[in-house]
């Protein structure tokens, strides 16, 4: 069963190209460009984001419960004459879901060699706790 956009592609190749470009522009999100890795053990979560050439002033780190938000901007210098342009410019806004809630006060962030490392200790109340078998909860 063909959907209408599919019919458009077949009937009008030019329209198909325009629709495709339009769709890509609309769905393209700056978050796609920020490579982020997350590790966790029982005690803490560690997040790495590659931000080469960025300084601390360019980056914002926010933490709330199980969400980490990395945002910032690298402005393009329109005065420059680019022979080749591959690096990402503009705003990035990446949200990362962590495996557990974290203690915002104990969070540490370092920027070293263009890698942002954020270490987030697990929220004490979110850690697993033993329940006494005789039925008394803590």
């Amino acid at each position: 069963m063909f959907t209408l956009p599919h019919l458009l592609r077949i009937a009008h190749p030019a329209a198909a190209l325009r629709n495709d470009v339009q769709r890509r522009l609309e769905t393209a999100a700056p978050t796609a460009s920020l490579p982020v890795q997350v590790w966790a053990d029982g005690e803490a979560a560690t997040v790495h984001a590659a931000l080469p050439g960025y300084t601390l002033e360019d980056i914002e780190v926010e933490v709330h419960e199980r969400k980490l938000r990395l945002s910032g901007e690298r402005k393009a210098d329109d005065e420059r004459t680019y022979v080749r342009r591959e690096r990402f410019t503009g705003r990035f806004d990446q949200r990362v879901t962590l495996p557990f809630s974290v203690e915002a006060n104990g969070a540490q962030a370092h920027l070293t060699n263009g890698v942002l490392e954020v270490r987030l200790p697990r929220l004490e109340s979110d850690k697993p706790r033993k329940i006494a078998i005789n039925g008394q909860n803590q």
């Binding site: 053990d41 080469p52 060699n113």
Partner: protein, 122 residues
């Protein structure tokens, strides 16, 4: 700034290698190339020039992952080569690594730059 070579070929085969993103900008005196090398420090970066080809190879250090501290992170490598035009004055190429960004400054040779010829009046 000195660059040391990093790995023997045998060790290189175990490391994932990526092509880093680079911007090339024309400046008044030549070109500037900015290469993204996140996680690479200067002792793990080599920049070599041979027969007009500028090659770079950088490697992140990774971590062993002792429990309670950093997770185990595998090192990765970045490699890229640029063919330079003959107008580039090779002896004056400069390289600076800062915040994981390598900036290569490639000056054009004197004779390739536009110059004013003074006109004498008699």
């Amino acid at each position: 700034m000195t660059f040391t070579s990093i790995q023997t070929p045998a060790e290189q085969t175990h490391i994932r290698t990526f092509t880093p993103r680079a911007d090339i900008v024309a400046i008044e005196s030549g070109y500037q190339v900015e290469v993204e090398l996140p996680g690479v420090s200067s002792e793990n970066l080599s920049v070599e020039l041979e027969q007009g080809v500028l090659s770079l190879r950088g490697q992140t250090s990774g971590t062993a992952g002792e429990s309670g501290e950093k997770p185990r992170i595998k090192p990765i490598a970045y490699e890229r080569s640029f063919r330079l035009s003959e107008a580039v004055e090779e002896e004056r190429i400069q390289a600076e690594l800062k915040n994981g960004l390598l900036t290569l400054t490639l000056p054009k040779a004197e004779r390739a730059l536009p110059r004013q010829i003074p006109v004498e009046l008699n």
